[in-house]
Symmetry: none
Subunit: 218 residues, 4 copies
Amino acid sequence: MTVTATPRAERIRSNSADRRTRAREDTKRAILEAATALFEQRGYEGFSLRQVAEGIGYTATTIYLYFKDKDELLLAVCAEGFAEFGSALEAAANNTTDPALRIRAIGRAYINFGLTHPVHYRVMFMQTPDFILSAVNQPREEISSYQVFMDAITAAMRAGVIPVADPLETTNLLWANVHGLVSLSLSSKGVVPKWDEESVRRMFEVQHDLLERGWRRV
Amino acid sequence: MTVTATPRAERIRSNSADRRTRAREDTKRAILEAATALFEQRGYEGFSLRQVAEGIGYTATTIYLYFKDKDELLLAVCAEGFAEFGSALEAAANNTTDPALRIRAIGRAYINFGLTHPVHYRVMFMQTPDFILSAVNQPREEISSYQVFMDAITAAMRAGVIPVADPLETTNLLWANVHGLVSLSLSSKGVVPKWDEESVRRMFEVQHDLLERGWRRV
Amino acid sequence: MTVTATPRAERIRSNSADRRTRAREDTKRAILEAATALFEQRGYEGFSLRQVAEGIGYTATTIYLYFKDKDELLLAVCAEGFAEFGSALEAAANNTTDPALRIRAIGRAYINFGLTHPVHYRVMFMQTPDFILSAVNQPREEISSYQVFMDAITAAMRAGVIPVADPLETTNLLWANVHGLVSLSLSSKGVVPKWDEESVRRMFEVQHDLLERGWRRV
Amino acid sequence: MTVTATPRAERIRSNSADRRTRAREDTKRAILEAATALFEQRGYEGFSLRQVAEGIGYTATTIYLYFKDKDELLLAVCAEGFAEFGSALEAAANNTTDPALRIRAIGRAYINFGLTHPVHYRVMFMQTPDFILSAVNQPREEISSYQVFMDAITAAMRAGVIPVADPLETTNLLWANVHGLVSLSLSSKGVVPKWDEESVRRMFEVQHDLLERGWRRV
DNA sequence: TATGAATGAGTATTCATTCAT
DNA sequence: AATGAATGAATACTCATTCAT
């Protein structure tokens, strides 16, 4: 089979297919973004397909061409967030081999993700567990990021950097620390002073310094 | 208190007015309680005037005689939450004079409120500030509890129990710590292990121990 | 307690209540009739609350004030038909003591009901059994009329007027005979000749004569 | 059949046209069969173009290339039903020359068709005539089966097997008898006892026996 | 010939709200 | 003070149909 110029018809078909695929993905992306925004604004129950559709100038019906139903759309929104979140945490973890530094780096990445993806963060971590639970058959990316966190902690325990304790509970505790900063900043920015992005980053360092100091020779 | 010669008609009118006022307040209270119960049970979106009314044997229409609309009723429910929250924090603060202990006590009270009033907590601290802000005329009880927190902290700084730093930021940090535990527990209970009530209380003590140790070695 | 003139207020209240009750029943009746007509025209699946409502100038929502849901409305339609049908059959049965005549009388009443209540008849006997079955908890009036039929038949068997055979099957057979005439007339009037009301009544007599003659010569 | 000198181009065109026509008819047939199957399975209202299309691996849109709209497809399905029904009756009629037996055979064929094609039967004989009548352009196969019935009856009258009477009315009566059995079985199976297929066939024989006995020496 | 995208009308049902009484 | 009737807007979802390709 020689490399002939692709026949015209073929080329056209292929281009046309390409274009269609691209258009399809664009639309899907538009829906996803509108959905994310609305979900963040209104929460699970306040969320409506109609409004998503209106937001991007489509009919509600159209959404069904891209997502099976409401839940599938919402799950797609979450999945996206979890994927990116997991990557960010892993990248941070792989950036250093020092166990103490690694934990701080993960924390920083966490804070950073929350501050730069407020909408996704809200969707992922500030909703009733019902919704997430309903997606129980889906592969849980969420868990993967939790694992990154916990691995770093057990490593630090083995290295004697932090006192040995129940790893699950320690992970939860650290997670809660950063989650507290991020989520409170999302809910309080503009209402309570000193919840701007810069303050939050600074507060994280203070919080983590205190932690490390507390861990030392418990 | 002598029986002054109030004219009979006047007395009747007044009594009747009293009775009416009392009856009115009773009904209002009944509605409020039913609303709170439903609210705690079904959450913000699952909440419906019809069901509130049914719960106390009135027509949905009747509620409009006591509250302008759904939002006003919901705001009243929230206001009650803030009031109770503020009282709980104040009570905890007044229970001891030791500055360090007082901070811990406030934290405990905070955790306790969150765990026992999950739905209220959600609405009060885990939503876009829009809804709360829309209650512009309401006195901001929220601020008052913030004040309790901050007062305890500045006192502790003066007493040398915790290192001197920006009081606002320190308050935010402590708030974030407890908020992290409460809110993450609300979102993760049943999904991630060790987020049951007991674990959260235990984790709070650990968290606070670490903090105190960290403060001591600054 | 003397017969005083009823106090004015009382009278007004009572009248007003009466009027309301009457209005309510009128509306309910209107809905029922519109529903019956539509059900007959379009069958179970083609039937829609919206159209019923439009037909009588109400909003679809209004129907929910009178009937819990679609099924309750449809069941009411059927119940009505079955009640009247049962009465008609019983009346006919009680009109004579002669066993043979009684059977013929019941048949005539059956035919008469079908011809004069075509709409109800369609709803009651020409739909998928699914719907009727779904009403399984409802007291089954239908059965009562079936019973009238069967009682007359067993009596006739005991009297030696018709040959002894399985009563259920004999009932089914007689029922099928009259049902065939009625239902075919409903589906064929205007399409096939000789399916007008008068012909049907005449055909019933012929059919029954043949039956009796057949029975006699078994 | 000699190979005449059709020009090559012409031959190609013609073959190609043939092939296209054949392909077209194959597809049409496939659609029709899928439609019939779905129709038999889900009934008139449960029937959806989307599902028909899916069943044969085409898009819903494709169906519009073969049938103008949903109704046209449904009418085609019905037409097939009428055709098959007519054939079945004719076949039964031609199977014997004995006038009495022929009538019974036609009846049996009728019962058989109804029991084995319940959904078709429903649409053909248990609906308001509107839908069928709307198929004005369709040749009325229905009539042809009616004719088969009536021919057998007039023949039987001439042969003295059944008493002479108005042929139309006699046909209607016989039709009603079998229709009663079939249609009541369709509506009552599972609700009323003894309406299973076997009972119906048995009841038909009983019914017909009685008829013949009634006819003898009226 | 076949398809993918899109739409508009339709379905049952729920809810907040208004109005006359 | 309380209610019953009624409405209009909203919800998720399905379907027949059209159009450009």
